[in-house]
């Protein structure tokens, strides 16, 4: 039997991509506009905040601690060579607060919740539950998507703060237990190096990442086609797209903040 390959026109691919971007933008804009329209589903938002925030806490605690400790461990060998082991607190502090805390938390929550949202909404699409909701006079973007966006952005902000703090504690554990740095030295350098720009960068990113995770997860869920196989496909695509988008946005946000506040 001859192998038949179907060639897809690059124009069709570009058109599909443009359509996807358009649909994603419209869905996101509508979901954000819903924050200013009644009814606001506060109960659903709290439920999602519990699922996303409290549910993600163990993994965020674990990764925060590990990343902080690993950052300290890897930096220490270089710093020790130059006699700068006391700078370890500064390095962990800047690294965790401005970059690794938001990024690792964002990626972890994307892996856990973008997939969850895509599979939940995707299953609702293929079993006509979304159509049923519309038929019952309820706007699914209001009831399902807006609460997820609000809850993810809100909870990621606090999860990032927790991850930052645990990263600093992880760094301290390594600095103190392995390299014998005393507590005051470490925490003073952690505190003194941070300026407004660092904290601002570290706290604006999780809000943006939360928005990306929820909108991408919901977009892939709502555009699910093709039964259970389609749900699986949407789930995978949501995690990949959310993670890639987080990395891209992270780069540009960092660059923008540097442009606004200047380099250190």
């Amino acid at each position: 039997m001859a192998l038949e390959l179907e060639l897809i026109s690059p124009i069709e691919v570009a058109k599909d991509l443009a359509l996807a971007v358009q649909e994603y933008t419209l869905l996101s804009a509508q979901s954000v506009a819903n924050f200013f329209r009644r009814p606001l589903y506060m109960g659903d938002m709290l439920q999602q905040a519990d699922l996303i925030g409290v549910g993600s806490l163990p993994i965020v605690v674990l990764t925060g601690l590990s990343v902080g400790a690993l950052l300290a461990l890897n930096a220490a060998s270089t710093l020790q060579r130059f006699g700068g082991i006391t700078l370890i607190g500064q390095l962990v502090s800047i690294g965790m607060v401005t970059e690794l805390g938001p990024l690792i938390t964002g990626l972890m929550v994307a892996g856990r919740n973008a997939s969850g949202m895509a599979s939940e909404l995707g299953s609702m699409i293929v079993t006509e539950q979304i159509d049923a909701m519309r038929a019952l006079g309820t706007d699914p973007t209001k009831k399902l998507i807006t609460p997820r966006i609000g809850a993810t952005a809100f909870m990621l902000f606090f999860l990032t703060i927790i991850a930052d703090l645990l990263g600093l504690i992880g760094g301290f554990a390594v600095a103190h237990l392995i390299f014998g740095l005393n507590s005051q030295q470490y925490w003073t350098s952690v505190w003194q190096i941070l300026v407004f720009r660092d904290v601002f960068t570290g706290l604006i990113k999780p809000v943006l990442f939360g928005f990306i995770i929820a909108t991408v997860g919901c977009y892939y869920g709502m555009s699910t086609r093709g039964g259970t196989q389609g749900v699986g496909r949407s789930t995978t695509q949501a995690v990949v797209a959310a993670s890639v988008l987080i990395l891209i946005v992270d780069f540009f946000v960092t660059k923008l903040i540097f442009a606004i506040f200047g380099y250190r």
Partner: protein, 281 residues
Amino acid sequence: MPAPTLPSENPVVSVASPSGHAIEFDNVRIAFDEKVVLDGISFHLAHGETKAVFGVAGSGKSTMLKLAMGLMRPDSGRIFVLGEEVTRMSEQELFELRRRVGIVFQESALFDSLRVYENVGFRLTEEGTPADEIERRVREVLRFVELERTYNMFPSELSGGMRRRVAIARAIITEPEVILYDSPTGGLDPVTSNTIVELIMKQRDVYKTSALMVTHRLQDAFTMATHQFDKATNQMVALPKGQYCEVAMSFLILRDGKVIFDGDAHQLATSRDDYIREYIS
């Protein structure tokens, strides 16, 4: 088996549409990619009438219901529901209209994360009805479909027939003026099918609700055309042969995206069209 009663057995008062019909399709066409599913179909559903829609799988029956509900947009043509042109309405405007229309989906489409009472009372909850009022009405309507014992259960704990009846309860709880049934008896055993047919018949004869009923089961539609719900005995009774035309029941058959038959039971039984004769034989 006699069907239980709903306490307020007042016929639904429909607002007359400009066209005077509950639903009207005017030259509606829709295609998916290259495949034309509905090709310029026109028909109307009178107030208080139930119209059974037939056609082979993929003939666009379910699509027709989704178009009527505004869940899909046609490529061309106009659709009126309760006097409102759904084809010109925004999604926000449609949400208001949909509160006056009930729909029972093919696979029930119950919210699987919600319990039965939350599913049935969903629309009332959204409308901000007080909790005790919701509970009272949910219990009433579940009693109507003989499923009050499932009040606290999840849809996954119910059989296919029970899910279908819960979906009917969810559709009728707000006493809509029009109900759309998508294969309400599909895949069910004859006894359960009969119970559901009786419920639909009761909606037609007691509450005078207009309905479009997509089905593959000709016998269900013929039962509805040859029986009437008797309020006194609270069950359906067979009509004498000469009175079949007295029930508000009609038939519509789709073939290759077009309406090939739209008429009553007598016209269907006496049709000379070969395809229709083969279909009903």
